[in-house]
């Protein structure tokens, strides 16, 4: 289900954007996270990674003449490792989770940065990727929509960035509730339409302060 072709395409695009001559493991990691992300946020285990904070630019085209990029030697080794992981799990082909799992013991570059920022260890990364793999085939379970939503789920339901959703909550345009004694915030699904305005009623006036 994970689309390695798309991840590779994103990775090559990121390399071209950065004017790099080679597609490195950092580009591959960004490509994989972009494939599994929703509205700019890649959720892996307990970690929500905002891709824009990692420098992902969704639209900027590479400057100058079309660069030609090749996979780096490290990226070749990463693909080899992903293929070995795929084989060890009995998978017929290499999936996005196999590529992500291949980063588990990587301490340099972007993966090292993620490990330090989020406190990720080799084993916690492997466990999170394994859970991601388990969650993918069971997408049929998503038919029962929860009544109380996290800001991330609420943003997804409306098709907006989670930062915009947080701004709605901060400005009290959307009622939100804090779980007793916890930091976690929930919003009621039925409240979501409070932030929807019909286009006919003065669309100009609604672009107020956004943060």
């Amino acid at each position: 289900m994970g689309d390695v072709d798309t991840a590779a395409s994103f990775a090559i695009f990121a390399a071209k954007q950065g004017g790099a001559a080679e597609v490195t493991p950092d580009h591959i990691l960004l490509g994989c996270m972009r494939v599994i992300s929703r509205f700019g946020i890649a959720v892996i285990g307990a970690w929500s990674v905002d891709l824009e904070s990692l420098g992902v630019d969704w639209v900027r085209q590479p400057a100058g003449p079309r660069p030609k990029v090749a996979y780096s030697g490290e990226t070749v080794a990463l693909f080899d490792q992903a293929a070995r992981i795929a084989k060890s799990t009995g998978a017929a082909s290499v999936g996005i989770t196999h590529l992500l799992a291949a980063f588990a013991s990587e301490d340099a570059g972007l993966m090292g940065e993620l490990k330090r920022t989020y406190g990720i260890t080799n084993s916690s990364w492997r466990a999170a990727i394994a859970a991601l793999e388990q969650a993918e085939p069971g997408s049929g379970e998503k038919t029962q929509a929860p009544e109380y939503l996290s800001p991330e789920q609420a943003a997804e339901a409306l098709g907006i960035h989670v930062q915009t959703m947080r701004a709605y909550i901060r400005s009290e345009r959307l009622p939100a509730y804090r779980l007793a004694g916890e930091r976690a915030i929930r919003v009621l699904r039925s409240d979501l339409e409070k932030v929807l305005e019909p286009l006919s009623s003065g669309a100009e006036g609604k672009k107020e302060k956004e943060n």
């Binding site: 390695v4 072709d5 590779a8 090559i12 079309r66 090749a70 996979y71 990226t75 290499v94």
Partner: protein
């Protein structure tokens, strides 16, 4: 478009390394085609007795096939244009 065979000598290669190479070839071909330089990996045959691989590509030119393999970082010994023949053609 013409077909080409890319010959490789890969002693000691494992099925996983071949799979990894295939993935890289496929994605590099897609990228080059998107750039306006059409090249497609058609199929490959591994010859266990000699540890050789024959990979067939369809492309606008031999240079495009060479570039796709360089981008994918898959070593090769020879690239030759081939004539296609199938049972339906005879």
């Amino acid at each position: 478009m013409p077909f080409y065979v890319v010959k490789r000598a890969l002693p000691g290669v494992t099925p996983e390394v071949l799979q990894s190479a295939g993935l890289r070839a496929k994605t590099c071909c897609a990228e080059m085609t998107g750039e306006g330089q059409p090249v497609r990996w058609v199929r490959s045959f591994f010859l266990p007795e000699t540890a050789e691989t024959h990979c067939y590509f369809e492309a606008g030119s031999k240079d495009a096939v060479e570039e796709a393999n360089q981008r994918a970082r898959i070593p090769f010994t020879q690239i030759t244009e081939v004539e296609e023949m199938t049972p339906e053609m005879v």
